[in-house]
Assembly symmetry: C2
Homo-oligomer: 298 residues x 2
């Protein structure tokens, strides 16, 4: 079942309440900035949950074990930012540039209040959106991410990451299994299950990101690390309830960045998982979803 | 309704399923070490939850808003360690000495599997009990506490704590309101509500701890701060599921001690609360109880 809504002054958008991360059709919306690809599914009384993706990730990198159960109490909207997948434009080299894409998208869709699930890079964009347009954002899930002025953010040149990124025997999702999960047997098993779930969508997929996307996003990470003025001062202005989540062994954006968020955001609860890395939400998807629903519905 | 159980080789113990933190009668049990005061109430299928108290705290320092709802799915047993309240003996000057009291108590009551709620000092004792008698302990809630080898544990001589402890206008529970809660209006209001709840038990109360108790417990804190051998090495042996909880503005046992627990205990989830100090479980009692039940029942 699908339901095509046309709202005044807005493009047509199709909500697919019975669709899922695997089956929701990719839609496109023309905005004041770019034309964005997105997927929209689920139903419920809560504000839509807009999901902002990680470094080089596309719509196809959302784990059905996370986004499907969340869509049972709300619409889930997976957003493809400018320059990624089939969205037009160039990837910005700053987080505020990426936030502008989300704001243009939300405006074109007529969204006036949303919750945000920002993972990694997406969590930085979420913070910026909350700063730039506070009234749009009700609550935020900030997973595996860092505040502006954070530390050791996505330094792919580090030996422990180069060991994975330079391994010729790893390709496709197997790189993510090593990057997002810890070396323990249980974490690697969770990683393989995650890879299997991501592969379940076989049609209407997005093109994989190339080096140009990575380069622009890395530039944005470097800019985000810089401390301008009072360190973490901007976080005081993000008064929305936040649930900050990370694995304690995150090598891409170390957990101390989540501690900084928990200590400096005025209304953030922090949750960390043991034996988990950057992809803690995928490894502990049942617990994460339970916690996310508890948080979003409270 | 009360139910007096007599088990082979054991002292009589009364479980009061309908009693509460405020109404449960204080009981006494003679053991191989000392005679301990305790209160026991609630009912349910889960293992009993034994509660281990903070610095100078007695049975009367348990907050009904925490321990009453927890008693709806399990027995709650409030334990008065040696030398405190009406328990006989001297307060040990080491955490292992305190753990020995709990073990003697559990043995005398015939408890073979328990969950532990250890707050502050009690969380240290809980870790030691798990090391000394692993099979006794199923799960642990470790709140506002620190690992052995932790940092800045209960240094009452610090200016920010002396300001409270040396304030002649503060007495009784008002000291706790300042020590356990942050200066914000909402945290202080939560603190006053906590003080009111503690005062609700008016009969069958324990004597208040004197300077001798404090002195011995401070000695135990100093010993607990010392690093012997590999720092945090013992935590690897505590394989029980743990939920570590703290407020991000804890001045008595700073939150970084909870980070250490989350990073070094092999199976610990960490939860931190914003705008909260040492008494985060009392400030956010609804959320804490919800999370504790989720954790204990999962």
């Amino acid at each position: 079942m699908t339901d095509t809504k046309t709202m005044p002054g807005m493009a047509r958008t199709t909500v697919s309440p019975d669709a899922s991360t695997i089956t929701a059709p990719t839609q496109f919306i023309e905005t004041s900035l770019e034309t964005y690809a997105y997927r929209r599914f689920g139903a419920g009384a809560a504000p839509p949950l807009v999901c902002l993706q990680h470094f080089t990730g596309t719509l196809d990198n959302w784990d059905p074990a996370v986004t499907d159960p969340l869509a049972q109490g709300r619409e889930v909207i997976l957003f493809e930012s400018g320059g990624l997948g089939r969205s037009t434009g160039e990837v910005p080299t700053t987080i505020p540039g990426m936030a502008a894409h989300l704001l243009a998208f939300a405006d074109a869709l007529g969204l006036t209040q949303i919750d945000l699930l920002g993972f990694s890079l997406g969590g930085m964009v979420a913070q910026q959106v909350a700063l730039d347009h506070p009234s749009l954002v009700r609550k935020m899930l900030l997973v595996g991410t860092a505040p502006e002025g954070g530390e050791d953010i996505m330094h792919l040149e580090k030996p422990e990451l180069q060991k994975i990124l330079g391994d010729p025997t790893l390709s496709g999702y197997q790189v993510l299994v090593k990057l997002f999960f810890t070396p323990s047997a249980s974490s690697q098993a969770a990683g393989q299950a995650f890879a299997t779930r991501l592969a379940a969508r076989t049609e209407d997929r997005e093109p994989v990101s190339g080096p140009k996307v990575a380069q622009a996003q890395i530039a944005a990470f470097r800019a985000w690390e810089r401390v301008d003025g009072e360190r973490f001062g901007k976080l005081r202005r993000i008064t929305q309830p936040c649930l900050v989540v990370n694995g304690v062994f995150d090598q891409m954006i170390p957990v101390r960045n989540s501690y900084m968020l928990g200590e400096h955001l005025p209304n953030a609860t922090l949750l960390t998982y043991p034996d988990a890395g950057h992809g803690s939400l995928f490894q502990f998807h049942d617990s994460f979803v339970q916690q996310a629903i508890l948080f979003l519905d409270s």
